[in-house]
């Protein structure tokens, strides 16, 4: 969510990641702004809910978080730049609200292993026996969705947010970095580490289900 202020001339200045400072449309009435909010922000409620739930891992907390996100989004709607990415803007608000309520959890995480290439190599190495025998076998023979869903919930928050934003919500590294307020390199290393942890959980699930790693 960007800040806003007024120029000496009285024009409302707002801030967005896309265009930095811009001048809000002074001719837009309150009613028109409300209609635009309904048209542009409300349709993203499924996405915001998914993101909120992935952070809170709790239905009731996700409910509260979504409500608070939309309330704050509405109150700050005049700072949203028309034509920019509303979904990403909502994700940013949602994440900021979440962090304010869960600061301790967010700070507690060990984000070590900050080498994206090492994470990639480790994941490829671990999956190698499955990949070389029949890459599709795990995914076609097992219902991996619930196992992956459970593993996502078990991820520390910083990895979970990166995985959900990029892998589930389809955000680019750059977009995820804007939502999370961290550099792209940090998103990349968190994302890759999160993926490696998820993949490990998936392979363990495959072993438990009797789909042993080929020799």
């Amino acid at each position: 969510m960007g800040p806003a202020g007024r120029e000496p001339t009285g024009r409302l200045l707002c801030y967005s990641h896309e265009r930095e400072w811009f001048v809000a449309d002074p001719s837009e009435s309150k009613r028109e702004q409300d209609l635009r909010f309904e048209r542009e922000a409300l349709p993203w409620m499924d996405d915001v809910y998914r993101f909120a739930k992935s952070m809170t891992r709790d239905e009731a907390d996700a409910d509260d978080l979504v409500q608070e996100t939309y309330l704050r989004a509405y109150r700050a709607w005049h700072t949203f730049e028309p034509g920019s990415d509303c979904r990403r803007w909502l994700f940013t608000i949602c994440r900021n609200v979440f962090l304010r309520t869960r600061e301790r959890e967010a700070r507690q995480v060990d984000t070590g292993g900050d080498d994206a290439v090492l994470e990639t190599m480790a994941a490829v190495r671990e999956a190698s026996p499955y990949a070389m025998s029949n890459p599709e076998s795990i995914f076609s023979r097992l219902d991996v969705g619930p196992a992956i869903g459970k593993a996502i919930d078990a991820l520390p928050e910083v990895f979970r947010s990166a995985v959900v934003l990029v892998d589930v919500e389809g955000q680019s590294y750059d977009e995820a970095a804007a939502v999370l307020g961290v550099p792209i390199g940090t998103v990349r290393s968190r994302l890759f580490r999160g993926r490696r942890i998820l993949q490990h959980a998936l392979l363990e699930f495959a072993k438990d289900a009797g789909l042993a790693a080929p020799a």
């Binding site: 499924d46 409910d63 409500q67 939309y70 994941a123 490829v124 869903g149 892998d167 890759f192 998936l202």
Partner: protein, 80 residues
């Protein structure tokens, strides 16, 4: 490009985050290398499974109604 360089960029490639030139280099390597292709294929299927694991979660109707009511109230407060 050798296998090690290709694998180092595996996830960046699958995410479409490399430059056009680098994307083309990895693509060309995968076409020619029988050793690397299965790894990329596996990880692509893995990412698709991650995407699907959550993609169908929808906001419950009761919550949708609560949000609409809250926003409506805020709109009315601002009008007043």
């Amino acid at each position: 490009m050798d296998c090690s360089q290709a694998v180092h960029q595996l996830w960046d490639y699958l995410d479409g985050e490399l430059t056009d030139e680098k994307m083309a280099e990895v693509r060309a390597h995968l076409k020619a290398c029988k050793g690397c292709f299965p790894h990329f294929d596996f990880e692509e299927a893995f990412l698709e499974a991650v995407r699907k694991s959550r993609a169908e979660t929808a906001c419950p109707d009761a919550l949708r109604r609560k949000v609409m009511a809250k926003v409506q109230r805020a709109m009315e407060e601002q009008q007043a």
